[in-house]
Subunit: 221 residues, 2 copies
């Protein structure tokens, strides 16, 4: 028998899009973790506290604790949830569909998000004295490169439905929606991405996505 | 019944560490794909050819073709191989072990590799006029951040064996070994990472890893 859902603990920060992914996935599975809040800016970044680094040596959020095991990296965490709580499924059943969903999620997780997150922008500022404007341009550049490929992937495939893959949310949407949120935050022009916008609108009406938004979190500012 | 192995086609470039991962995984599974070579530098980058972009709108390698389906993103591709050819397994059986292996792979795939690959360095040069030296420093910085966390994750866990997880290769090693190769290429000082070095040495003696090295590829220069 599986452990009760209330034994899950999620280390999160309202604005982190990686933590946002974890929150969506947990909501979709109907799981209610205890939240522990890690403020990425206060006190030089609480993710660098010795205690937190013991759980997550990378010093990033999210981290999930379940049955005394510690899981870092949002995609590993979500694959774990999928294996332990298979319904509702966030991956399709057929291997090609699963590969497609993971490809979309990874195109965001590997090739958009890490190029525009906080620690990268901080480093850009430190070594190239990048202004706020240059940092925003940098973010927009990589979002544009990634979204152009995603729009093509999604608009050219019959597998795309109301969501990225079919008519119910999958791991692909779990990754897409927070990245759309990041894009809006830097005022990235989304006009050229009609498929992404359509999926974002669909998800906005879904309670699991709505409840996971940064502004809906207890630690929101 | 599964399609014969010779129906697999891999688009690869000898020096790409993402393609390198795919080659290791295919070798570990005993699969022999047809190779198609995509030169990332010649003619402005063959990954940007119209024909290739139709297969992989991100314009990156590797891409796998199987039964007329196209799979991009190395981790999606490797998860696909694992699902279709489960033996030898590249993920452990227990969910916590699977999460740990994926976490290690993703710490490389998301938080080291994308910050030091070719397209990022090109962009750094274009907008911040980063010199070759600054580009190398940039790469070393992110490799250092990532490897420090990995060394801690691996050295602090009893799950670590001859390889990252136990005594046989997993997806974690499939991602680690090419990243070690990249580190060596930029003359990153590996002295502080004894666990990573020990695993690299173990893998070097394994034929599946040896045959996947850039210098062993038909398109090597």
């Amino acid at each position: 028998m599986l452990a009760p859902a209330n034994k899950l603990t999620l280390y999160t920060y309202f604005r982190s899009s990686a933590a946002w992914r974890a929150r969506i996935a947990l909501n979709l599975k109907g799981l209610k973790p205890d939240f522990k809040f890690v403020h990425l800016l206060k006190n030089g970044g609480e993710q660098y506290n010795t205690e937190y680094l013991r759980l997550n040596p990378q010093g990033i959020v999210p981290t999930l604790i379940h049955e005394d095991h510690v899981i870092g990296q949002s995609m590993a965490l979500i694959e774990y949830l999928e294996e332990r709580w298979p319904e509702p499924a966030l991956l399709p059943k057929d291997p090609f569909g699963r590969a497609r969903v993971r490809q979309i999620a990874l195109a965001i997780a590997c090739d958009i998000h890490p190029l525009s997150n906080l620690r990268l922008r901080t480093y850009l500022k430190n070594i190239f004295e990048a202004s706020d404007e240059q940092q925003a341009e940098w973010q927009k550049h990589w979002i544009g490169v990634g979204f152009t490929a995603l729009e093509e992937l999604l608009s050219s495939s019959k597998e795309t439905g109301k969501y990225c893959h079919g008519n119910t949310p999958t791991m692909a949407d779990v990754f897409l929606i927070p990245q759309m949120g990041n894009a809006r935050r830097v005022k990235f022009d989304l006009a050229h991405y009609p498929t992404l916008l359509r999926i974002e609108e669909e998800a906005a009406a879904h309670p699991a996505f709505a409840a996971a938004r940064p502004e809906a979190q207890p630690d929101a500012e």
